[in-house]
C-alpha cells in the first residue's frame, strides 16, 4: 500500500471508531471496546509500517491537496512525514495502543454492574455471593464504558491529525480537538463537582494559550501568505521573516514564535498556565496517562519543536540566543524547578506524577530554548514512554487499594493517598517492578534507563554551551526529581502496609499489567538509540541524533562529548534516589511527613502549590464573576436595559391612563352616553305630551293648525 495512503488513514481509524461507537454500539460494551482497540491497533500497524519505511530513507513522505480556493491560488492541506514525525508517530502509536488496552481492565470490564452506580460517578462496587454463601464486595463495571472509548478514540484522532499534518491549520485543528477531548475526559465523571470544575479550568486555561497561538498563526499567515511547513521553513521565507517586527527588538519570526510558544505554555502546562494539570487528575487514570503524560502535553512541545527554525531565526550554533529562545529557556527551566519543588510535598500519588510531568516538559522547553534541538526531541520520546508507564502503574496501585477499600468497607480512606499505602511490593509485584523501572527512568538512573540518556543530553548541552544558570537550575531539578521519585516508591511499595486497606490490596488483571510490562521494556531500552557517539569513541554512532537532525534545514552537529556532565548527572540521580529512600523508609501509619517538621512553613507553601490557584482566583476568576454577575447582570441588564423597558412601560401605561381618563371616558364615552341620556331625557320630557286624553291631543292639533293658517294668511298679506 502506498505510504501516502497509509499516512492519511492513521487518523481515520480512530475517527471512524468514534462515530461507530457513538452512533451504533453504545449499548454493547464489548463491541465498543473491540472497535476502539481495533482502531488503535490498525493505526499502530500503519505507524509502524511508516516508521520502518522512514528508516529506509526517501523522506519526507508528503501529499497535499488544494482544499480552499483563494482567488488565484489555493490553500493547501495535506500530510507530511519527516524524521521528526516518524519518531513521534512511533511513541504515539505505542502509548495510545497500550493505554487503550489498559482502559479495558481499568474500567473493570467483565465485572458485574454496580448496585447503585450512576452515570457520572465512579463505580461503587457491588456485593457478590459466592458458592460458600460468603458475601464479597467486588468492583463494578463503569456505567459509561462505551462513552469512554468513544472519547479516547476521538482524542486519538486529534493527536494523529496533529502529528501527520503538513500545515499549521490542521495542526491547530488537531490541537483543539484534543483540547475538547481533554475537557470531556477530565469531566468524565460529570456528577462530581470537583471533576466539572477541573474540566472547565483545563479548558479555559489552555484557551488562554490558544488565543495567543491563533494570533501567532494569523500573523504568520499575513506575513507569508501560507501555513504549510514547506513554505514557512524554506530559506526564502525565513530570510523575509528575519526583518525586525518593531516590538521589543524581536524579528517577525521571533514574535511569531513567541506567540506560538504561549500556546505551548498553555497546552503543556508551563508556568504561569500550569494550574490546570494537577486538577486534571480528576479524570480516570488512562486519561491522565494519555492526555497528560504521553500525548497531549507532548503536542505542545512537538509544535515548538516543529517551529524551531522559525523561532530560532537569527541564531547561530554557539552564538547568542534570540529573545524568544531566551524566554523559552527561562520559562522552561524555571517551571522545571518550580514543579519539582511542589512535587516533593504532594501526598496524592497522581499529583506527584502531574507535577513531575510539568517539570519534565519544562526540561524539554528549556532544551529548545538553549538550542538543543535533538536533545529536546529525545527527551520528548523517552518521557512519553516512562511517564505513561508511571501513570498506568499508579492507576494499577489505586485499583489495588480500592480492592482493599471494598474489602474493609471503610470508604473514608483515600485510596490515592500515599500515606495510606506501604508494603505493596508484596501484594502487587508486577506493578511494583514496572513502576520502579519507570521511576528510575524518570530519575535518570545511570545507563540502563532511557531517562538517563535523554536527561543527560540536555544537561550536557547546557554545560557544553556555557549556559551556567540553566545548567544549575536543571541539575537542581534533577536532584529533586530523583528525591520525590524515591519518596513515592518508598511510601507506596516499600516498608509495611500502613492501613488495613493496603494490607488487602491485590494485583490487577493482565489487561492492566501487560501494557505496564510493554512500556517498561521501552523505558529501559529505548534510550540506547541515542547514546552519544563520543562515549564509545565513535564506534556506535548516535543514530537518533543523525536521524532527527535531518528535519532541520541546516545540519546541526552533535555536541563534543564531555564526561563531566555525565558524571554529574549520575551523581545527582543516585544521591537523590538514596536521599529519598533514606528519609522515608521508616514512616509508620499515622505519622506525618518528616519533611514537614524540617522545612516548617516553607513546607506549607510547597504543599499548597505556592498559592498560585488562590492568586489566580483573586486576580482573574473573581473579577470575571463580578463582571458577569454584578456589572453585566445587575447593573447593565437589569438596571439599564430593564430599567429602560420598565420606564417605557410605565410611560405607556400613564399615557394610556391619561388618554383613558381624560379623553376616552369623558369625551368618547361621554358623547355616547350623552346621546343616549339626551334621548332618554328628551323622551321622558316629551312623553308627557301623551297624556292619553283625547281633548288635549285635539287641542295640540288645533293650536298648530291655527298657527299654520295664520302663517299662510299673513304670507298672503305680503305683495
Amino acid at each position: 500500500m502506498a505510504t501516502n495512503t497509509i499516512i492519511w488513514l492513521l487518523p481515520l481509524f480512530p475517527l471512524l471508531a468514534f462515530f461507530v461507537i457513538v452512533l451504533f454500539t453504545n449499548r454493547s460494551k464489548a463491541l465498543s471496546h473491540t472497535i476502539a482497540v481495533g482502531a488503535a491497533l490498525l493505526s499502530w500497524l500503519g505507524s509502524m509500517i511508516i516508521f520502518v519505511r522512514a528508516l529506509q530513507g526517501d523522506l519526507p513522505f508528503e501529499k497535499a491537496i488544494d482544499w480552499m480556493p483563494l482567488g488565484e491560488t489555493h490553500f493547501f492541506i495535506g500530510v507530511r512525514v519527516d524524521q521528526l514525525t516518524a519518531v513521534t508517530l512511533f511513541f504515539v502509536a505505542w502509548t495510545v495502543l497500550m493505554i487503550f488496552i489498559y482502559s479495558v481492565g481499568y474500567h473493570n470490564f467483565g465485572q458485574p454492574k454496580g448496585d447503585h452506580d450512576h452515570k457520572g460517578l465512579p463505580p461503587h462496587g457491588t456485593n457478590v455471593t459466592d458458592k460458600h454463601d460468603h458475601v464479597h464486595a467486588v468492583p463494578s463495571i463503569e456505567p459509561m464504558y462505551s462513552r469512554f472509548f468513544a472519547f479516547i478514540a476521538l482524542f486519538a484522532f486529534g493527536m494523529y491529525t496533529l502529528v501527520v499534518s503538513d500545515n499549521l491549520l490542521t495542526l491547530f485543528v488537531g490541537w483543539e480537538i484534543m483540547g475538547l477531548c481533554s475537557y470531556l475526559l477530565i469531566g468524565f465523571w460529570f456528577a462530581k463537582p470537583s471533576a466539572r470544575a477541573a474540566a472547565i479550568k483545563a479548558f479555559l486555561t489552555t484557551r488562554v494559550g490558544d488565543v495567543f497561538m491563533l494570533l501567532g498563526i494569523a500573523y504568520l499567515y499575513s506575513e507569508t501568505g501560507s501555513l504549510s511547513y514547506n513554505v514557512i521553513i524554506s530559506e526564502h521565507t525565513l530570510e523575509k521573516l528575519a526583518e525586525p517586527a518593531g516590538f521589543l527588538g524581536m524579528s517577525i519570526a521571533g514574535l511569531i514564535g513567541l506567540l506560538l510558544f504561549i500556546g505551548t505554555v498553555g497546552k503543556s502546562a508551563q508556568w504561569p498556565l500550569h494550574v490546570w494539570l494537577p486538577d486534571a487528575m480528576e479524570g480516570p487514570t488512562p486519561v491522565s496517562a494519555m492526555i497528560h503524560a504521553a500525548t497531549m502535553v507532548s503536542a505542545g512541545v512537538y509544535m515548538v519543536i516543529r517551529m524551531f527554525p522559525l523561532l530560532s531565526v537569527g541564531w547561530q550554533e554557539g552564538g547568542a540566543l534570540t529573545p524568544t529562545m531566551t524566554v523559552m529557556a527561562f520559562i522552561g527551566a524555571g517551571t522545571a524547578l518550580f514543579a519539582a519543588v511542589i512535587a516533593v510535598a504532594q501526598n496524592d500519588v497522581k499529583r506527584v506524577l502531574a507535577y513531575s510531568t510539568i517539570s519534565q516538559l519544562g526540561y524539554m522547553i528549556a532544551a529548545l530554548g538553549i538550542g538543543a534541538y535533538v536533545a529536546a526531541v529525545f527527551h520528548l520520546v523517552m518521557h512519553a514512554f516512562f511517564k505513561a508507564l508511571l501513570f498506568l502503574g499508579s492507576g494499577s496501585v489505586i485499583h489495588g487499594m480500592e480492592h482493599g477499600v471494598l474489602h474493609t468497607g471503610d470508604h473514608s480512606v483515600d485510596p490515592q493517598n500515599m500515606f495510606n499505602m506501604g508494603g505493596l511490593r508484596k501484594k502487587m509485584p508486577v506493578t511494583f517492578l514496572t513502576f520502579t523501572i519507570g521511576g528510575l527512568a524518570l530519575s535518570g538512573f545511570p545507563l540502563v534507563t532511557a531517562g538517563f540518556w535523554s536527561k543527560d543530553e540536555i544537561l550536557a548541552d547546557a554545560f557544553g554551551k556555557g549556559y551556567w544558570l540553566a545548567f544549575i537550575v536543571l541539575a537542581l531539578s534533577a536532584l529533586l526529581t530523583a528525591f520525590y521519585t524515591a519518596r513515592q516508591i518508598t511510601l507506596t511499595f516499600l516498608g509495611e502496609p500502613r492501613t488495613k486497606e493496603a494490607q488487602h490490596a491485590q494485583e490487577t488483571k493482565w489487561t492492566m499489567t501487560l501494557p505496564l510490562v510493554v512500556l517498561a521494556v521501552f523505558a529501559v531500552a529505548a534510550g540506547w538509540v541515542g547514546i552519544p557517539a563520543g562515549l564509545t569513541g565513535g564506534a556506535i554512532p548516535n543514530w537518533f541524533h543523525e536521524f532527527v537532525v535531518g528535519t532541520l534545514p541546516e545540519y546541526l552537529p552533535a555536541l563534543e562529548f564531555n564526561f563531566l556532565p555525565m558524571l554529574l548527572s549520575m551523581i545527582i540521580a543516585l544521591s537523590g534516589l538514596t536521599l529519598g529512600w533514606w528519609v522515608y523508609r521508616e514512616v509508620k501509619a499515622g505519622q506525618p511527613d518528616p519533611l514537614a517538621k524540617l522545612l516548617g512553613s516553607f513546607y506549607t507553601w510547597m504543599k499548597n502549590k505556592f498559592y498560585f490557584d488562590e492568586l489566580y482566583d483573586r486576580v482573574f476568576v473573581r473579577p470575571a464573576y463580578w463582571l458577569a454577575d454584578t456589572f453585566t447582570n445587575k447593573w447593565m441588564d437589569r438596571g439599564v436595559i430593564d430599567g429602560f423597558l420598565h420606564t417605557v412601560a410605565r410611560a405607556a401605561f400613564s399615557v394610556g391612563g391619561i388618554l383613558r381618563n381624560y379623553f376616552d371616558l369623558p369625551v368618547v364615552n361621554g358623547f355616547g352616553d350623552a346621546v343616549g341620556e339626551g334621548t332618554k331625557l328628551f323622551g321622558k320630557k316629551f312623553r308627557a305630551v301623551q297624556t292619553g286624553k283625547v281633548q288635549q291631543y285635539m287641542l295640540s292639533v288645533l293650536v298648530f293648525a291655527v298657527g299654520i293658517l295664520f302663517y299662510y294668511l299673513l304670507s298672503l298679506l305680503q305683495p
Binding site: 286624553k693 281633548q695 288635549q696 287641542l699 288645533l702 293650536v703 291655527v706 293658517l709
Partner: protein, 171 residues
C-alpha cells in the same frame, strides 16, 4: 233690510245663543235640551235655503232620534257625574281663545274668496216644486248618488250592529 234678513238674523242669534248654552251648561241634561233648540234653528235655516226636505229630515232624524238618544245616554250615566262640579276640563282656557282665533281665521280666509258675496240665484217655481222628486231621482239614479246611497245604508246597518254589540250587556 228685507224680511228674510230679519228672520235670518233672529234665527242666527237664537241658534248661536243656544249653541253657547249647549257648551257651557252646568247640568248635562240642560245641554241636551239646548241642543234641541240648536237643531231647530238649523232646520229653519234649511228652510230659508229652500231645502225643504232637509229641514224636515233634520227635525225628524236629528231631533226625533239623535237628541232623544242623547237624553237616554245622559240618563243612563247619571250616577257618576256630579252635576255641581265644573263641567270644564283643565285646558278650557286654551280652547276658548283658540276657537275665537279659528273663527277669525276662517272668516278672514273666506272673505278673501271672490265668491264670498254672491247673491242668491233665482229659482223657477217648477224647480222649487219639483225639487223633492228630483232629489229622489238623484239619490237612486245610476248616474247620480246611488252608490253613496247604498253605502250609506250599509254604514247605517254596520253602525247599528256595532252599537248593539258594543253597548250590549254580555253575560
Amino acid at each position: 233690510m228685507t224680511i228674510e234678513k230679519i228672520i235670518f238674523l233672529v234665527i242666527a242669534a237664537v241658534t248661536l245663543g243656544a249653541a253657547v248654552m249647549v257648551v257651557t251648561a252646568r247640568k248635562l241634561i240642560h245641554s241636551a235640551l239646548w241642543l234641541i233648540l240648536v237643531l231647530f234653528g238649523v232646520a229653519v235655516v234649511y228652510g230659508l235655503l229652500d231645502a225643504g226636505f232637509l229641514a224636515v229630515a233634520q227635525v225628524v232624524i236629528y231631533i226625533g232620534a239623535i237628541a232623544i238618544l242623547f237624553i237616554f245616554a245622559v240618563m243612563l250615566t247619571r250616577r257618576v257625574m256630579n252635576d255641581t262640579d265644573s263641567q270644564n276640563n283643565q285646558y278650557w282656557w286654551v280652547a276658548a281663545p283658540l276657537s275665537v282665533l279659528l273663527f277669525g281665521g276662517l272668516t278672514w280666509m273666506l272673505s278673501r274668496w271672490q265668491g264670498f258675496s254672491t247673491e242668491l240665484p233665482k229659482l223657477t217655481p217648477e224647480a222649487k216644486s219639483g225639487m223633492l222628486k228630483q232629489l229622489g231621482q238623484v239619490l237612486v239614479s245610476p248616474d247620480g248618488y246611488v252608490l253613496p246611497f247604498e253605502l250609506a245604508s250599509i254604514l247605517l246597518v254596520a253602525a247599528l250592529i256595532g252599537a248593539i254589540w258594543v253597548a250590549g250587556d254580555r253575560k
